[in-house]
């Protein structure tokens, strides 16, 4: 061995000694644990049992929703709810039975309610009944000692003072589902919380939702409160001001009563919607309970589909409204000028097929503005014959059809703008020129939502400036979202000329005429009807109307302030049904806003 080890015995001795000291201390500490865990076990066991702290959420009021005149459309009301607080949520029948009797609930219902939340941490309250009547509150309060697991609480409950008015703008609340709770661990949602499930309540849920407070109290092993320890007050959600004008909204809803359809009124300068009607409507107050599934079922199974927001989710054939797009395409591509005339004899034979004008005797010889005024089909067949469907599709897209408008209400549908590509991909067939003839007057596979038509009308009214519709007020500081289409404003003037004549010179839109208000508009009637609907109407003993009725227009001609789009399902000819309704809205608007402005101006 060449290596001689160092003498480290002194160090090793010190190390051993240290370990012995450490070991002795550890042993003494262990003895202390023995004292706490074995000797004083009873004492601490009682403390653990008797001295629980419990934290209860204090729900925060949601922000209020106002119309543009600061009238409250969505309010909060105090309401009583009762929660189940059995510490371990044991579902023993001994307690389920009397409690369900006390609350007038079916035992199975109560049980399933508690079961639904089993997966969540215990000791958090499970709401078992809400919107209690005062008598029920009194009964529970009186038997508080008997049922310490029942917890009465006041919560701010959403209340819509005008019931079904503007329901499709406001939306409704429903209890958050366990699935939503599980899939959003990042959000601080609580079980039983009411969240926005549609329209503005959903879109602006984060904005409207406040921050829940917290109440910490000591409770005994039976769950009885022994006093408050700490309280964090809830913070109310932020208020939201809509662009809706309640007066206009109410009037528009009256006009659509007993009818199925949609009305949109918007300001073409900003895109702000003043009225938004989808008929039939529903009363959102009825969903603000966490329970009564029967009622919910009756609403979702209603054949009139009151929950469907027809303004953005109803996809309809545009009918003659689409002639605006065909006319624009023709003028822009230069195949005709506004002075080009065609002769309408009441029908025309193209590609070996007869295409009829809606006016059997025929319009005779007319130019483009006259063709728009009279909504002459033959004139537009002549245009369709000279255009490709892809050219029409291109301009339809530029004008905003075929994709959602981007309004601040969720669930918007895209509509459909057909093209040769689309047909090849979706139907696997080539496009026939005869189909272009149909598309040129808005028949065929074209689909639009009423809001898209309103946005299209606003774009025409703005002479080519597209706006994004919205239901909330535009901030004064911010300019509204606008987008140029890049089309020549002269072209729009020529179409507006036709739309003006349609209303003011005895055209198809004459029903919308209001003396002293320069309204420009276009009617539409669609020949599409689902067989199902027609059969249902016959069943009800009604004459099945063959067409949906459209009118979309704006006013005043030179300084557009309002766009009105009306769709009445099975309303018959656009000129007969939709145009007078629109006229009524123009009238109300004029009385309220234009006169007001004049008075202020003078």
């Amino acid at each position: 061995m060449t290596k001689i080890y160092e003498d480290l015995s002194l160090l090793i001795k010190r190390s051993k000694l240290t370990f012995i000291i450490l070991g002795v201390i550890l042993f003494l500490v262990l003895a202390f644990y023995w004292k706490i865990q074995i000797w004083d076990h009873q004492k601490y066991w009682k403390m653990a049992e008797a001295n629980h702290l419990r934290s209860l959420p204090i729900p925060a009021p949601r922000g209020l929703i106002y119309d543009r005149q600061k009238i409250i459309l969505a309010d909060n009301q105090p309401s009583f709810k009762v929660s189940w607080l059995k510490e371990s949520i044991k579902t023993d029948n001994q307690i389920i039975e009397p409690v369900s009797q006390l609350l007038n609930l079916r035992p199975e219902e109560l049980k399933s309610r508690i079961e639904r939340y089993r997966w969540l941490q215990s000791f958090e309250p499970v709401i078992i009944k809400d919107n209690l009547k005062l008598e029920e509150v009194a009964v529970i309060e009186a038997r508080k000692e008997e049922y310490p697991e029942l917890q009465l609480q006041v919560e701010p409950r959403r209340f819509y003072p005008f019931g079904s008015t503007a329901a499709h703008v406001l939306g409704y609340l429903q209890e958050i589902s366990p699935e939503e709770l599980k899939s959003n661990p990042g959000r601080k949602w609580r079980r039983g919380e009411m969240i926005g499930k549609s329209a503005v309540e959903k879109q602006y849920d984060d904005y409207l939702t406040g921050q829940a407070g917290q109440l910490i109290e000591t409770v005994d092993s039976q769950g009885r409160s022994l006093g408050e320890v700490n309280r964090i007050e809830p913070i109310k959600g932020r208020d939201l001001i809509l662009s809706i004008d309640l007066d206009l909204q109410k009037r528009a809803e009256e006009l659509l009563q007993e009818k199925e359809g949609a009305i949109v009124v918007l300001d073409p300068r900003t895109g702000e919607c003043l009225a938004w009607v989808s008929s039939p409507s529903y009363d959102p107050n009825r969903f603000i309970t966490r329970f009564s599934p029967e009622e919910w079922l009756s609403i979702i199974s209603d054949p009139g589909r009151p929950l469907e927001n027809r303004v953005i989710r109803g996809q309809y054939s545009p009918g003659s409204i689409f002639k605006i797009v065909t006319a624009l395409t023709s003028l822009e591509t230069g195949i005709v000028s506004d002075r080009t005339t065609f002769f309408c004899s009441g029908s025309i034979n193209l590609y070996g097929q007869d295409f009829a004008c809606w006016f059997k005797p025929g319009h005779g010889s007319l130019n483009l503005p006259e063709a728009i005024k009279n909504s002459c089909n033959v004139y537009f067949y002549q245009l369709g014959r000279r255009l490709t469907v892809d050219a029409i599709a291109r301009y339809a897209r530029i004008l905003g059809l075929g994709k959602a408008t981007g309004v601040d209400i969720p669930g918007e549908k895209d509509g459909l703008v057909p093209s040769t590509d689309w047909k090849r991909k979706v139907q696997g067939e080539t496009w026939f020129p005869g189909e272009t003839i149909s598309v040129s007057i808005g028949q065929g596979p074209v689909l639009v939502t009423p809001l898209q038509v309103a946005a299209l009308t606003a774009c025409v009214a703005n002479r080519g400036m597209k706006i994004r519709p919205r239901v909330t007020r535009v901030d004064d500081q911010k300019t509204p979202e606008q987008e140029r289409t890049g089309l020549d404003s002269d072209i729009f003037e020529k179409i507006i000329e036709g739309m003006w004549r349609s209303v003011n010179e005895g055209g198809t839109g004459h029903g919308a005429y209001q003396p002293g208000f320069e309204i420009c508009g276009k009617t539409g009637s669609t020949q599409v009807i689902s067989r199902e609907k027609a059969e249902k109407m016959i069943e009800r003993g009604e004459e099945p109307a063959k067409t949906h009725s459209w009118f979309s227009g704006f006013a005043p001609r030179n300084d557009p302030r309002i766009v009105v789009t009306v769709l009445v399902e099975f309303g018959g000819m656009g000129g007969q049904t939709a145009a007078p309704l629109a006229g009524e809205i123009f009238k109300v608007y004029r009385e309220k806003y234009v006169r007001q402005a004049n008075l202020q101006g003078n």
Partner: protein, 365 residues
């Protein structure tokens, strides 16, 4: 350079003990936060795997090579700590974290390793029976610098874990009585000044709580009270795995970190505590006895300082949660949740294993 024979000498028992204690830790972190996302558990399992891998890499390198880099390593860690103080982002009110994407790392943990290596290097050629004043000052200063840098983060708990290391160096080098008196006077003065100027209010509260327990059960004494209730109500056999009401009700704060043993004590009772103490006793015994298996002076220092670091952290934590020591935020090595401390503890024990592996001087004829 690498002699295959050294691999026969790997101390598998110690490695097994470390893994076992870490596994118990992960099981009870899972119990402590049973109702929350299990990402804590997966993160800790990942850290354990990483730590084991790094440990084996460390074993390949002769500790004497590591010792030769002790000084630059020490300087680097102090530069990082100083940099953190100046540029670090505040996370949970301290500047202790380096952030790499989804992972966070506390350089203060790795600094422990650097300090142990540096002290061992310093004393490797120190053959006096008693410590000189120069050596006393030098070693105190070298430990004092990172201590202050970490205490300023502020992370007093981690800073305090350096004290047993320094204490270990004093003990091993043989501290004369007069210095003991000097230390007592200095620490008394520092205590007085610190009490009035240095300590935060909550830290004072914690010390007051220790002196007069139960006076303010909702404030500073709350944690202590809750951890004692958790332990005491556990009794002999406990309430069962993740059945403890104290921890499940979230009455017990920091239950996956500093108070993990209270969760063990509530779920498994005194028997569970006995098992943890037993495992730790064997573990510490092996660490302290590693000084006997060391070929040189530096090795003895490394083994002893590592044993002091881990032993004292364990001791302080088990005393802290029953109110025998102020609540300072010192976790139990291996058992408590925390990735960087797990890794640095594995590396520190890895050093000891490294020394034992190379205890024989193999001679080639």
């Amino acid at each position: 350079m690498l002699d295959r024979r050294i691999f026969r000498e790997i101390d598998w028992t110690t490695i097994l003990l470390m893994v076992l204690i870490s596994a118990i830790g992960i099981i009870f972190v899972h119990s402590a936060i049973y109702y929350q996302a299990s990402q804590y558990v997966w993160k800790q399992i990942l850290w354990l795997a990483v730590s084991l891998a790094v440990l084996f890499v460390l074993l390949l390198i002769d500790y004497k090579v590591l010792l030769s880099f002790a000084f630059p390593f020490y300087v680097l860690m102090n530069v990082i700590l100083a940099g953190l103080l100046i540029f670090g982002r505040r996370i949970a009110n301290t500047r202790s974290w380096l952030v790499f994407g989804p992972f966070q790392f506390q350089p203060s943990e790795l600094t422990k390793l650097a300090v142990i290596l540096l002290l061992a290097r310093l004393f490797s050629s120190y053959k006096e029976e008693q410590m000189s004043f120069r050596a006393f000052l030098l070693s105190s200063g070298l430990v004092g610098l990172p201590f202050i840098l970490i205490a300023l983060q502020p992370d007093l708990g981690t800073a305090l874990t350096f004290v047993p290391v320094l204490l270990g160096a004093y003990i091993l080098a043989g501290l004369p009585k007069k210095y003991v008196i000097l230390i007592l006077i200095v620490s008394l003065l520092a205590g007085l000044v610190g009490w009035n100027y240095g300590l935060k209010d909550y830290q004072k509260k914690r010390i007051e709580t220790l002196l007069v327990p139960g006076q303010d059960p909702r404030g500073a004494g709350y944690q202590l009270q809750q951890s004692k209730i958790a332990l005491g109500s556990g009794g002999l056999t406990g309430k069962g795995y993740h059945k403890g009401t104290q921890s499940q009700l979230r009455f017990l704060p920091a239950r996956q970190n500093d108070f993990i043993l209270a969760v063990v004590g509530e779920d498994l009772g005194f028997l569970g505590i006995l098992v943890v103490f037993g495992l730790y006793f064997i573990f510490l015994y092996r660490l302290f006895m590693a000084t006997q298996a060391s070929p040189d002076r530096a090795g003895v220092y490394i083994a002893f300082l590592a044993a002091m670091l881990i032993g004292c952290q364990f001791l302080i934590n088990v005393m802290m949660i029953v109110g025998l020591f102020p609540i300072t935020g010192i976790p139990i090595p291996f058992l408590s949740y925390g990735g960087s401390s797990l890794l640095s503890n594995f590396l520190i024990v890895g050093l000891v294993i490294n020394i034992k592996m190379r205890r024989f001087a193999y001679v080639r004829f």
